[in-house]
Every structure is written in C-alpha cells, then in structure tokens.
C-alpha cells in the first residue's frame, strides 16, 4: 500500500507493507538516529515524536502514522545540539546508542512538564534504558539544561 507522511517537516510518499513498522520506515528514509534495542517495547531507543507525542516507533505501524507528523532527532537538530551539549559536558552520552531516543523524550518532557521535580523527570524518562551511564550524568545534564532554559526565560 502507498502512504504519505510528514517526516521531519517533509512530505514523503512511499510503498509499504501492511506490517511495516514506523521504525524501519523512518530508517529507510534516512533517519538512522532511530535505533532498535529490543523486541518487547522496553528500551525506548526507538522513541520518535508522532504528532508531537513521544511514542515507540517499533510498535507503531507505518500505516497508522499515515497523514500524520513524525519527528526524529534529524528533524530537531538545533534542540538536539543544545541539550546534547549539556550531555556531552557530563561525558554522559557514552556509547550514544540510547541518546537519540533519550533526547527526543527529554525534548518532549521539557515541553509537557512545567518545572519538573527530580522524581517527575525520572518518572517521565523511565522508559528510556541506558546501560553505560547509570543515569546520573543524564540527570545532571537535564537539570543544567532546564536551569539554563529557566534563566533565559527570566
């Protein structure tokens, strides 16, 4: 079947199978940042924004995303670099394999939550696994990032 989708702001059209997953679809269209880490929807590496909501692209049929807006890290380059810099300053990107899904979810969180507490941050991001960092450096980066955003606003 043929579908149309807005991928990172560009309208694309392609032939898919009924069971083509959004994850494989976006990778086929050059969005290599989106990774697969498991088969059971546990790891969060495949997180993309679907109509601005963070979802697991491994568990969304491409067909279901037809006519809708999908964003990956490739489409939010500036924001990714901005938050990514805080991560890099901690040395907390490490192997980088969980970074894209994690950063997408951090960006979604910073839009959805207002001045989140540490517990709220951890709860929001609980679906993003990381094996390298022990999560502490990621939290330090997020706090610095949110503090800086707050400072800019005020």
């Amino acid at each position: 079947m043929v579908i149309k989708m807005w991928l990172n702001g560009k309208l694309i059209e392609d032939v898919i199978d009924a069971d083509t997953l959004l994850l494989d679809f976006v990778r086929k269209h050059g969005c290599y940042s989106v990774k697969r880490g498991c088969e059971t929807a546990n790891c969060g590496l495949c997180t993309v924004l679907l109509d601005e909501k963070p979802v697991l692209s491994c568990s969304v049929l491409a067909a279901r995303a037809a006519e809708r807006r999908v964003e990956t890290l490739e489409g939010v380059r500036e924001e990714a670099e901005e938050f990514g810099g805080f991560l890099a300053d901690q040395g907390a990107e490490q192997c980088g394999f969980c970074s894209p899904g994690f950063i997408i979810n951090v960006l979604a969180m910073s839009k959805e939550l207002e001045a989140p507490s540490e517990d709220e941050i951890k709860a929001y991001l609980s679906g993003n696994l990381c094996r390298c960092t022990g999560y502490m450096g990621q939290l330090r980066a997020i706090k610095s990032y949110l503090d800086q955003k707050k400072a800019v606003v005020s």
């Binding site: 929807a41 546990n42 909501k53 979802v55 697991l56 568990s59 049929l61 067909a63 279901r64 679906g127």
Partner: protein, 266 residues
C-alpha cells in the same frame, strides 16, 4: 513478530465489526502486546479514524473511548480528581510514557490480561464496557466472558463518592506487578480486586457491615489473611503463590487503613 497482510482504517464501527468476524483478522489496539506474538494476520483493523480517542463526561459518568491511550487517562485531570487518583496510580508504573502513549484502554481491557494493572483497578469502580454488538456489560461480568469477535467501543465509569486505593508490588519499578491490588469503599460495600496473581484480576464484594467487628491490629491481620485466601494464586518467574498470598494479605490491611482515612475526608 506478528505478520500482517492488509491494513484497514475502518470508516465505521459496522465495517470494523464485519471485518472482525473473520478469525484471521484482528482489531489493532496499541499493538504493543499484539506485535510480540507470532501470529499471521490477514487484516488488521485500525479504529483510529472513529473519534474513539476522547474522554468525555457528564454529571453521572465518564465515557472513555476505546482508543484513548493509557497516558491520556493517566494525565486527565478530571478523571484523576475522582476516586483518589487510583487510575493514575495504576497506570504510571507501566514501562514508560512512550509506551503509554501507544497502549490503548480498549486493548488493555479487551485483552483481559493477567498482568493488567488497569483491569484490577477498574474492577473496584463502577465500570462498564460498551460492546458494539453486546451492548453495555458490567466489567465484573466482562472479565468472565471469553474473548470473541465483538468490538469494545467505550469504557464507562459511573461517578459516585466511593474512596479507592491502588497498590502494586514489583521487582523493578516499571516491571509487571508481582501482585496488583485495588480496593474501594462505597457507602455499604467493600470491593477488593487482585490481579497479576499471575492470573487476571478477580473482584470480591464484601458488605461493610461485616467489617464492624474489626477493631484491633490482630482483627485486621486475621481478616486480611482470611480474605486473601479467597483468591487463587500461582507461581511464576516473578514470585511464588505463597508470596503473592502474603502480599495480598498485607495489601488488604493497608488498603482498609487507607480507605478508612480517606473516607473520613469525604
């Protein structure tokens, strides 16, 4: 992984229902559980286009479309200002936000899964499912029915002044529960529900008048132990039947105390 030959975004519930009568077709909920199976499906039926993703309410009830995501229920302010926030409590430990943005309430309830937190929770509220053919069925009855080819359209929760509490025990904080436990007080009834036993949730209805003799700590513990025995438990990778029964007893004690506290506030 599941294999699918055709995808149809149903234009009407009737179309969806007709397609679903074929054994090799299936309705697509959040697809999280479905994807992990090894089934070969002819046509997957997507209800996304039918406006079933709204949470509505009137004076008497909440009307929740089957395609509402678990996350939408979790963050709905109105829904969670009722029933002491148990709906949020029962949902917020499930894997992660992205997962809950995909999982649907319809898929979760229709599946009547053993591990389901939300099923356990809703059994202690005045909950009904609206089936396309079968009409309105109480959740208490629905959990006893076998899966069939009907379509779950809405979940309805009647508003009342009951107090409710939800507890769960897990090995890691976002894992399946070792035991899911829900309890609620209406004016004259106590509802107790245990899920992830590992079997799916069952609910027990007790007259509050029968609780009148429970006063001391000892009374609480005895009542809890005896009541816990009224449910069956099994052993699996996450825990033994014996441990689950113990957790059930502990959570009954804690639930009663929490409900007493909350009801005084009402």
């Amino acid at each position: 992984m599941i294999r699918v030959k055709n995808y149809v975004r149903a234009a009407s519930l009737e179309e969806a229902y007709q397609l679903n009568q074929k054994r090799t077709n299936v309705v697509l909920g959040g697809m999280l559980w479905l994807k992990m199976g090894k089934r070969s499906v002819q046509t997957v039926i997507d209800l996304s286009g039918l406006g079933l993703d709204q949470i509505e309410e009137d004076e008497e009830k909440f009307i929740i479309g089957a395609m509402c995501s678990l996350r939408e229920l979790e963050v709905n302010h109105s829904l969670n200002s009722c029933y002491d926030g148990v709906i949020k409590e029962s949902l917020q430990h499930i894997v992660g936000v992205q997962f809950r943005n995909c999982a649907t309430i319809g898929g979760s309830i229709f599946g009547r899964f053993g591990f389901s937190d939300i099923l356990t929770c809703l059994l202690t509220l005045d909950t009904y499912v609206e089936l396309y053919q079968g009409g309105l069925v109480s959740l208490h009855d629905f959990i006893k029915l076998p899966r069939d080819n009907d379509i779950l359209v809405r979940i309805i929760i009647r508003k009342d002044r009951r107090s409710a509490v939800y507890q769960s025990f897990r090995r890691t904080r976002t894992d399946f529960p070792i035991l899911a436990s829900a309890a609620s007080f209406t004016e004259d009834k106590l509802y107790l529900s245990f899920g992830a036993r590992p079997m799916k949730a069952e609910v027990l209805e007790i007259n509050r008048s029968d609780l009148a003799d429970i006063n001391t700590e000892e009374d609480f513990k005895n009542f809890a132990r005896d009541t816990a025995k009224k449910f069956k438990y099994g052993s699996n990778m996450r825990g033994s039947a014996e441990y689950r029964e113990h957790l059930a007893a502990v959570s009954i004690c804690r639930a009663l105390k929490a409900l007493e506290e909350v009801s005084y506030g009402n």
